[in-house]
Symmetry: C2
Subunit: 78 residues, 2 copies
DNA sequence: CACAAATATTCCTGATAGGGAATAATACCA
DNA sequence: TGGTATTATTCCCTATCAGGAATATTTGTG
């Protein structure tokens, strides 16, 4: 094995952080909220609220969105 | 800077994974669910459901539990 | 600036999360 | 195996999430 580049995006310690990342990566991929909602089989309102940091969103829904955007989530010891 | 050891725990792509990690790290720190719930100002039932993989748990609550257990969550490109 | 596209917010509604507390089921040891 | 601690599940309840759709607001361009 030669070497593999890992592209870190940042820490996620809240829905606010997750929302910022979702917003940024959605735009990078030139998707509208409506399109992303369609891909995720979810409501547009959910995407909007998530991107705006709503903390009570459901965990698995968020993880699914991140996955759709090609974002991997890793746990490590602090 | 000399070198810093990063201890990876694993990927989190669902509440199921998050729950497994919470369960393992809670036990490593010799905490009962009741104690962890106390620390997190949450109900014991929530901890139990989280550890058992309930996908609809609230995002921020989960992140808070992970943080309490000394677990950091990082996003990276897949 | 004007207009169009995108996003945010509101209203209405059914479904359910989560708390507390009680109980049932498991796990753990002597 | 019996007894205890721990965890899972149930019930009751209030609060609110998430969807759809309409509307308001913001953003991006010519």
């Amino acid at each position: 094995m030669v070497s593999t580049k890992i592209i870190l995006i940042g820490n996620i310690n809240s829905a606010k952080k997750a929302g910022e990342i979702v917003s940024r990566y959605r735009k990078m991929q030139e998707l509208t909220q409506v399109e992303l909602a369609g891909l995720a089989q979810t409501g547009v309102r959910f995407i909007s609220e998530l991107e705006n940091g709503k903390g009570t969103v459901q965990f698995d829904k968020v993880m699914h969105i991140l996955d759709l955007l090609g974002i991997e989530v890793v746990a490590k010891e602090r």
